[in-house]
């Protein structure tokens, strides 16, 4: 059998199988790929995953077909023709150039595609650090106001809602700066709203992973890690810690809920009122809090006079920069 025969056969099988598998995947599996479509970030990250998969399928199938073909056709047991060594078997300019070109084009395309998606989607729900450069409209304004204690949020106003996520061994709590800075273990969010999560930690590194919202941002002590997402469906979602933080890391999860804007408003105002007495005793709202003097995060304060919490003035005012 000559060269073109082998290659033509393999190519035919490859094209047919790849197209079939791609179509099946795109229409049957793709819409169910995590993290679903509860937020804009989730939908676009699902789209990215599916694009990658549609490109990966022909790669996988191509190599598998080749291996299977080699095992079936070029096995010594089949007693085919003797292989031919020599220069022709060592190098083949066309094959080499084609391989390197194709892999390079695919890879560079993927990097470009990923970059565009990342920037267009304001960081795709990932941790953007304290000074995000790809913020959605209105986010910086809302965050700056929140820190100054002048932030507001109301239904149908299309405002960004800042929410603070405070991680500690081994739980998450949340502060709502636009509602007097009350702190609660419940994460309730309004639908059709852009949320600016401000994630920080009081002790070791954790990671705030709101699975269905497609948000993941590490919680570092003394760092404000900002992540954006825009909700577009109501319903429950899971929050898990996804960075190892000690013994009970596995138990560090809870559930949040996206509700209608009116319901959210009711809940927030009710909680603000109910928690008012506690909120007074909390440290003033800030992007980060210095761990307490009891040794969390390895802190050791010999004389015990260190102020346990940073003030807005020391840490907060700088962030986020415009």
């Amino acid at each position: 059998m000559n060269e073109t025969h082998h290659l033509r056969r393999m190519t035919t099988i490859w094209i047919v199988l790849s197209i079939a598998a791609d179509l099946l995947f795109w229409f049957l599996v793709g819409p169910h790929i995590p993290p679903g479509r509860m937020t804009d970030m989730a939908s676009s990250n699902q789209f990215d995953f599916n694009i990658l998969f549609v490109i990966a399928i022909p790669v996988l199938i191509g190599v598998w077909i080749y291996l299977a073909y080699a095992i079936a056709v070029w096995s010594a047991k089949r007693g085919g023709p003797e292989p031919v060594g020599g220069e022709a078997a060592r190098n083949n300019r066309t094959a080499q150039v084609a391989w390197i070109t194709i892999t390079s084009v695919v890879v560079i395309f993927l990097a470009g595609f990923g970059t565009v998606e990342l920037v267009v989607n304001h960081g795709s729900g990932g941790g953007e650090g304290p000074n995000p450069v790809w913020s959605p409209a209105g986010a910086i304004k809302a965050e700056t106001a929140a820190l100054a204690g002048t932030g507001t949020w109301s239904p149908n106003s299309n405002q960004v809602l800042p929410v603070q996520v405070i991680a500690q061994q081994w739980k998450f709590t949340y502060r709502y700066p636009t509602f007097g800075g009350f702190e609660t273990p419940q994460l309730i969010l309004p639908v059709n709203t852009t949320i600016a999560f401000n994630v920080t930690s009081l002790d070791v590194i954790h990671s705030f992973w709101a699975y269905q919202l497609s948000v993941k941002a590490d919680a570092n002590p003394q760092v404000n890690d900002v992540a954006y997402t825009t909700t577009n469906q109501t319903g429950p979602f899971t929050v898990r810690c996804s960075e190892l933080c000690g013994i009970w890391h596995g138990s560090m999860y809870n559930y949040g809920r996206v509700v209608s804007q009116q319901k959210f408003m009711q809940w927030a105002q009710a909680t603000e009122a109910a928690n008012a007495a506690n909120t007074k005793d909390l440290p003033p709202f800030a992007w980060t809090y210095v761990p307490d003097a009891n040794g969390a995060a390895g802190g050791y304060y010999p004389d015990g006079t260190v102020t346990p919490y940073s003030t807005v003035e020391t840490y907060g005012a700088k962030q986020p920069a415009s």
Binding site: L52, N92, V107, L118
Partner: protein, 648 residues
Amino acid sequence: MTERPLATAGEASTAPRVPWTQRQGWLSQHLGTAIIGGILGYTFGHWLGNAISSNYQYIVNSGQNAIADALALIFGVVGWLLGIGALNYPLAKLAGRQPEKEVEVNDWSKYFRYSTNHKTVGLQYVVGVLLFMFTGGLLAMAIRTELLNPTTHYFSADTYIKIVSEHGTIMMMMATSIVVGPLGNYLVPLMIGSRRMAFPRIEAFSFWIFVAGYMVIFSALPYGGFPTGWTGYAPLQTQAGPGMVSYLFGFAVIGMGMMAAGFNIAVTIINYRAPGMTWSRVPIFVWSILATAALLTLATPTLFAAGLFGLLDKTAQTAFYVTEHGGSSYLWENLFWFFGHPEVYIMALPGFGIVGEILPVFTRKPLFAYKVGAAGMIGVSLLSFFVWQHHLFQSGINPDMRPLFMLTTELISIPTGFIYLVGMGTLYKSKIRFEIPMLFAMALYFNFLIGGVTGVFLSDVPVNVTVHGGFFVLSHFHYTIMGGLLFAFMGGLYYWLPKMTGRMMNKKIGLLHFWTMFIFFNLTFFPMFIIGLLGQPRRVFTYAKNLQGLNDFSSISAFLLGFSFLIFFFNLVWSLYISPQKAPANPWDSLGLEWQTATPVPPHNFERIPVILTDPYHYSEASAPAVADLGGDERVPAVSSHDGSGVA
């Protein structure tokens, strides 16, 4: 040993004066004296640490004396090295005395001594890494047992996280040496036509310090374990108990072995090639080991320094990683991964080299695109220094640099893809003999493909939001390290053990081993991609109820995968001791230089230093030139392809 005149095994023992340290029998230096030295050093260090520091207020308050723990381990390792004899030569030099020359003891006890013979060291490493692997494997079985059920727990949360951490660390440490140690040391000199490694004492040192590292990391368990996983992130690291000292110092000790081995191997390959062994004739395995050696030498110092900083934080109360005292938790993350990503290629490249040697032999074809393959390995090792922050995409550091790290990470798949070009080109119109080594080599191509493709998913920042820190990553790197490197290592053992031990491995048991390992490896790890996508984070002792089915499937497959390793160990014992079959000098009809010497390999490898005439891949070539002139009349003919398996 190097200056020793050419002598046969029998004559070696008649060398003029044998120092007591190297006598035959008990009254000399060997594993036993090393253990005694280690225990004495450990006790002394502990005493010293308590003597100098037990009155410090913070030690009194915490009830933990990390200084004593650290000094105990440090002096323990020094005692171990003194006991085995690693310091005899340098200490004599320091004292201005003429050091006594090493004389190799020529019985089985040489495997328990400070041997400077690269073949002895290679075999010592085989046993060493298998022991390492076995320990790590037992811990893996414990992990999968706990994950059988989300609500019924076999271990406490505390014990579980320590098992996971110990498993990961032991496996990662083992994997850095699994090929470079046994096969690198044994085969590189044979393949480049050398009689020795460049620095035989450094070679012996790298093995014995590797064993010390194993014991140091193992000592974490009696110390109460460490809760940080193999990545050891601070401040959790700073918060952890004395087991953390073992982790930090353990990486420093293993690091010394890695640097020593890398440096020695790189110098050997560059300087000890036989005449005619030009860079375009160097076997592809040697290229892969050279690229790995470069990574070992250049990346490990970062790990060493990072571990030292951590030790200082724990003992001397410095604050490298303590945020509120001016340190940074990002510092550890960056130092660790600046080493850690090159590390993952330390655990990949040697596997590519092994399959590159196996394929031509069992396809009876020359290696396709040899130069592209070698360039790919060099390219991978260079690029691997520029990707480390892909482990920190969601960490909040350098968020604006993510597109750059996404690009560099994805660029690595180009040189990695060269390995596929080489493999597939070699298979083209070949005549494949499905011996055990070939099966493992083909399995690498299957497994690593899945590992590599999922790596591209991970490096896409938007997709990384979902898959980072979960079971998807876990599966990805098991596919590359276990599915790639470990499969290649197994193939390499089946292929080269006949040369190293003079015994053939049993093919029937080998087939059983291969198929159970291949099938259950995939059944264990493939479901983990789905588990990860469905939201299970890594390193958790409990998980969502709806994931129990998949987890149980994975666990049961994992137990059977564990069983396949028992089959392998059984095959070793069977083929080496119970029913040994003598191996011919060249059972696979290979053209490789390492197969052209006698089996067992003569003490000096080659009677005369061979003159290399061409590369070792002229299979199925009618007028192929001889590979090497071995001196005398025997020219090595290029074996023409012939049918049959080559094994009786």
